[in-house]
Each structure stands twice: as structure tokens, then as C-alpha cells.
């Protein structure tokens, strides 16, 4: 095989080499287009505040200065308090989505029970309905449960939005575990719950991580539901707060603070994605193509 490829390239080394170089140039050019907005924002966020708002913009900072990040403390109760809100909401959403999806995925993959198919279709069918169309009554339901304006209430809604994807992924993950493992454990006297905890948990961990990443990103980034449900400024999540930094009811737009705020919002997503990319893309293919 190797010799075949070599002989082919040897026949026309020039054109093949130049074709390769050209492709890399194209790749790099496109990469610059995609990276530019994020990198430019990162660079600008560490400019001294005056340079960050300079018109026209300057290129590199004259010195590295974190004053823009410091200024984030002046917005509302200080940006870190809203970062805290977003973190709390994301943690509840991640724990809730992974636990509910794992339990349900196990139930659907391994047990027969009355109305099983109806229940499964019911959960998956919610994928067809855009959540935007049910936000009005959800607002009333949360009010009825006295959960309006609470991070917990917002997280409950986010968990529900994650369920069709999560249950689907976890059911497939459990279904791919060989039955022999459970049967051996059953002979050892495991109950279904201890089986799930002691035996299955380790085997389905990739699925759980996938569900967790999507839950985190969707909760961290969600805008419309948070905008509607969180009417008190103290409970704003980060995306809502950033909009008010922009929209100017704090006066003129502070571009330096905005760039710093954007970085605070972007960096966790990028880091989590880069660390757990494998699981993220696995979720995309498992959830999308097979479905």
C-alpha cells in the first residue's frame, strides 16, 4: 500500500505538493476568519480601558492590563455574583439532567413495564415542539409553584428541555452494554438499584459525560427563558446581565467591560469543549444521525 501511494506521488510530485500547500493555506485562512472575533475580544479585554474603547481600534495593547475585568464589579451587584447565578443554575441543571436521564435510560433499555413505549415516545416527541412556544404557561406554572425568579425554578425548566436528548443518549448507551455483565451481577444478588450504582455506572460514564456537557452548555448559554423568568436583577444569569451592560441603562456602553464580560462567558464553554470534545461530538452523532 505504502509503495503504491509513494509511486503515485512520485509520478507528479510537484502538483501534489502544491495542491497540499494550497489546501493548507485555505485551511489557515478560514481558521483565521473563525478565530478572529474571539481572539480579538481576548486581546482587547486586556487593553487598558481607554485603549479598549479607542475609535478607531488599536491593534495590540500597549501593556497588559486587567482593569476591564475589575470594572465588571461595578455592574449591578458585580459580575461575579451573576457568574455565581449562572454556575448554580448550570450545576443544578447538569446534576438533574444526568441523574434523570441515567435512571430513565436504564429503565427504558432494560425493563418492560406498562405503557413503556408511550412514555418513551412522549419524552422524545417534545423534541418536535419548540420550547419557545410554551414559555408563557411555564412562567405561570413556576409562579404557581412559587419558583418564579429562582435559579432552582429556571434549572427545573432547563432540565426538562434536556430530557429528550439525555434519555435518548442514555437509553442507547445502556442498550450497548452486554447483558452478560448484569446477569452475572444478578446471580451475585444485586438488586436493580445497586446494579445501576455498582456495575453499570462505570460502563455508561461516557454517555453521562455527554449528557452533562450539553446540559452545561445549554444552561450556561440560554437566553430567552432566563430573560422571561428572571425579572429581578439579583437573579439574572450572565447572558442577561451582559445584555444590560450593552443596552445602556447603565449609561454609555463600556466597551472594555463588555469585552471582559464576553471572555468570562466564552472561556468556560471553550475550555470544557476542548477538554471533552470526544464526548461532545459523540453526542452529536449518537443523538442526531441514528435518530
Amino acid at each position: 500500500m505504502a509503495t503504491a501511494v509513494q509511486s503515485r506521488t512520485a509520478k507528479r510530485p510537484r502538483s501534489a505538493l502544491w495542491g497540499r500547500v494550497l489546501l493548507y493555506v485555505v485551511c489557515i485562512f478560514i481558521a483565521i476568519l473563525f478565530l478572529f472575533p474571539i481572539v480579538w475580544s481576548a486581546i482587547s479585554s486586556v487593553k487598558p480601558p481607554k485603549e479598549a474603547s479607542a475609535a478607531p481600534p488599536t491593534f495590540l495593547p500597549s501593556q497588559i492590563d486587567f482593569a476591564n475585568y475589575g470594572k465588571l464589579d461595578d455592574y449591578g451587584r458585580g459580575v461575579w455574583s451573576y457568574v455565581g447565578n449562572s454556575v448554580i443554575t448550570a450545576i443544578i441543571t447538569v446534576i438533574g439532567s444526568t441523574v434523570l436521564s441515567t435512571l430513565a435510560g436504564y429503565g427504558f433499555a432494560r425493563f418492560n413495564f406498562p405503557m413503556k413505549n408511550i412514555a418513551f415516545v412522549l419524552i422524545l416527541a417534545t423534541l418536535m415542539i419548540p420550547f419557545q412556544s410554551i414559555l408563557i404557561p411555564l412562567f405561570l406554572i413556576l409562579t404557581g409553584l412559587r419558583l418564579q425568579n429562582t435559579l432552582f425554578g429556571l434549572a427545573l425548566v432547563y432540565i426538562t428541555f434536556q430530557l429528550p436528548f439525555g434519555v435518548f443518549i442514555m437509553r442507547n448507551t445502556f442498550a450497548s452494554v452486554p447483558r452478560e455483565i448484569e446477569e452475572a451481577a444478578l446471580l451475585d444478588g444485586c438488586t436493580p438499584l445497586t446494579m445501576l450504582y455498582r456495575v453499570m455506572f462505570a460502563l455508561v460514564r461516557p454517555g453521562i459525560i455527554t449528557v452533562g456537557i450539553y446540559a452545561f452548555l445549554n444552561s450556561w448559554n440560554e437566553f430567552l427563558a432566563a430573560l422571561i423568568f428572571m425579572t429581578k436583577e439579583a437573579n439574572f444569569t450572565l447572558p442577561i446581565l451582559l445584555t444590560s451592560v450593552r443596552s445602556g441603562y447603565y449609561g454609555a456602553i463600556d466597551w472594555g467591560a463588555l469585552q471582559a464580560g464576553l471572555m468570562v462567558s466564552i472561556v468556560p464553554c471553550v475550555v470544557i469543549f476542548l477538554l471533552l470534545q470526544r464526548y461532545y461530538v459523540g453526542g452529536l452523532t449518537g443523538g442526531a444521525i441514528k435518530g
Binding site: C27, S41, P57, R110, F113, T243
Partner: protein, 310 residues
């Protein structure tokens, strides 16, 4: 051999054991119940309530009286902004869907090439997709700004414009500006989706075509494209639905302006419901939007249905 014997015997045992025990009949229900309850309380119930509310005049305080289909009549006959929004959202969808599709397909072809380090480029092109839409909208508000924004500075540097373009407030430029920002944010997602479809095609099919003398473009035309119909259908449905539900970018980047030209349907529902507090009316618009989306998805799935099995 011994293993196979063990497998069949234990399988039989497991099945009969499950059937015999009565308690085991409900074990599965126990595991799935929390997810079912969440779906009922926070999805099915509000869906039913949306239909119920759409038949009422319903204020934020909760007073409501039944008015039949009056909301729908008002919506279809009196609300010119609803029609403007529907038309605007449709136009936006018709422009952005082909843009995303063509660029995503070309990128997928590129990152599917057997080049060293191509995985790095794949990751880079996908990166904006993990950022929030709200965050990326704000990022583009800054990039597109006429005074401090990089886009105008670059265009000026290249000598393409004399004076900065006020992208988001100029009726001639607002659509293209938003489309560029959304393509940047979402095209990587569609790229990965299409790439997965490409890689799912068995390599032998290409190989036998190559033996028959098919070049790259012929393989593309006669093998890849036909076999990717299901993937195209999925990506198309996701893109059209996503565009019809657009809100964040218009709320953040243009606030519906200039001259109320960029008020999408969801934005108009939001305004009617949570600025004018006419919840029943908002609910009736939600139902109309829902019906439109379901019809569109069904049509697309039917158009791109896949009869081939491979």
C-alpha cells in the same frame, strides 16, 4: 464455545425470571418516573395550557375570560406586525439556510480530506458553535460598531469603504450583518453534522467507483450526495426550525430596528406577552408558529425521504 453455551442458557433464565416476578414489572416504571413527571409538568401541561390560554383574554395578573377564537381572528386579520414578522422571519430563513448549507458542505469536504493536522482545523471551525448565541450576538455588536468595531476598521484599511458603515442601524446592511454573524456562530455545527453523514458512507463504495474510473467529482455526485439525503434532511430541518425561532440575535443586535424591520416572530410573541402583558394573544401566536413549524418539518422530511437502504 463454552461461552456461547453459557450465554444462551443465562439469557433464557433472565427472561423467565423477569416474567415471573410481579415486582419487577414496575421496576422500569420506577426508574423512568422522574423523567416522565418532569416532561408532564414542564412540557405537556404547558403545551395544553398554551392551547387553553389562546382561547382566552388573559392578563399577567391571571384574570381571564373565554373569547373563543377571537385571538386567532385578530391575529390573522388585524395584526399587520404579525404578518410583517412572519414575512421577515421567512425571508431571513430563506437567506440564511442556503448560506449555512453551502458553506458548511464546503467546509465538511475540506475537513474530510486526508491531511495531517486536519482535526485541528475541524475543531477551530466548530469552536464558535459552543459559544452562546446571546454572547456571540454581543460580540458582533462590538465588532460591527461604527466607531470601535474591527469590521469597519478592516474594511477601511483595505480601502473598501470611505466612511464606516452603521451595519445594525442601516436597513440596507442589517440583514447581511446579522447573517454573517449567525453563519460564523452556527456553520461549524452543520459542518460536523454533514461530516458525520459523509463518514458514515462505507469506504468500499468509493473504492469500487474508483476502480471503475470515477474521479473525485463523480464520486461526490453519484455516491456521496445521494447517500447523504438523510443527513441533509436532518440538517435542513434543524436549520429551518432554528431560523424560524430566531430571537436572541434580533433582541440583542438590533432591538427589532431599524424601523421595526427586524422583529422576528418569537420577538413579536415576546413583546405582546411580556411587554404588553397580553398572554392569551401571545399564546395564540405560539400555536400558529408551532403549526407552521410542524408543517414545514413534515414537508422537508417528505421531500428528502430516503428510500434507499445500504
Amino acid at each position: 464455545m463454552g461461552l456461547a453455551a453459557f450465554r444462551t442458557s443465562s439469557n433464557k433464565q433472565g427472561d423467565s425470571g423477569a416474567g415471573a416476578s410481579v415486582g419487577r414489572r414496575y421496576v422500569g416504571l420506577f426508574f423512568t418516573l422522574p423523567a416522565i413527571i418532569f416532561t408532564l409538568v414542564f412540557f405537556i401541561l404547558p403545551l395544553g395550557m398554551t392551547i387553553f390560554m389562546s382561547l382566552h383574554k388573559w392578563s399577567l395578573m391571571g384574570e381571564h375570560n373565554f373569547i373563543g377564537i377571537q385571538n386567532y381572528i385578530d391575529l390573522l386579520t388585524r395584526d399587520s406586525q404579525f404578518w410583517n414578522s412572519l414575512w421577515f422571519t421567512t425571508r431571513y430563513t430563506l437567506l440564511i439556510t442556503p448560506a449555512i448549507f453551502i458553506i458548511a458542505f464546503l467546509l465538511a469536504l475540506l475537513v474530510n480530506l486526508p491531511l495531517r493536522m486536519i482535526g485541528v482545523f475541524r475543531t477551530i471551525y466548530f469552536l464558535p458553535a459552543v459559544i452562546g448565541l446571546g454572547t456571540s450576538s454581543l460580540l458582533w455588536v462590538w465588532l460591527l460598531n461604527d466607531r470601535v468595531g474591527a469590521i469597519n476598521a478592516i474594511l477601511k484599511l483595505l480601502g473598501l469603504v470611505d466612511r464606516p458603515i452603521i451595519w445594525l442601524a442601516d436597513p440596507n446592511y442589517v440583514m447581511i450583518a446579522i447573517i454573517v454573524s449567525i453563519v460564523w456562530k452556527t456553520v461549524g455545527f452543520t459542518m460536523i453534522l454533514l461530516l458525520t453523514g459523509m463518514q458514515a458512507i462505507p469506504a468500499e463504495l468509493y473504492e469500487s467507483a474508483r476502480v471503475d474510473g470515477a474521479n473525485y467529482w463523480e464520486q461526490l455526485r453519484y455516491i456521496m450526495l445521494p447517500l447523504m439525503r438523510r443527513t441533509f434532511a436532518l440538517a435542513l430541518v434543524l436549520s429551518v426550525i432554528g431560523s424560524y425561532l430566531a430571537f436572541d440575535q434580533f433582541f440583542i443586535m438590533t432591538a427589532g430596528g431599524p424601523q421595526n424591520q427586524t422583529i422576528s416572530v418569537v420577538y413579536w410573541i415576546y413583546k405582546k406577552s411580556f411587554t404588553d402583558f397580553n398572554l392569551g394573544y401571545g399564546a395564540s401566536m405560539s400555536i400558529v408558529l408551532l403549526v407552521i413549524l410542524v408543517v414545514l418539518s413534515v414537508i422537508q422530511m417528505w421531500l428528502l425521504r430516503d428510500d434507499t437502504t445500504y
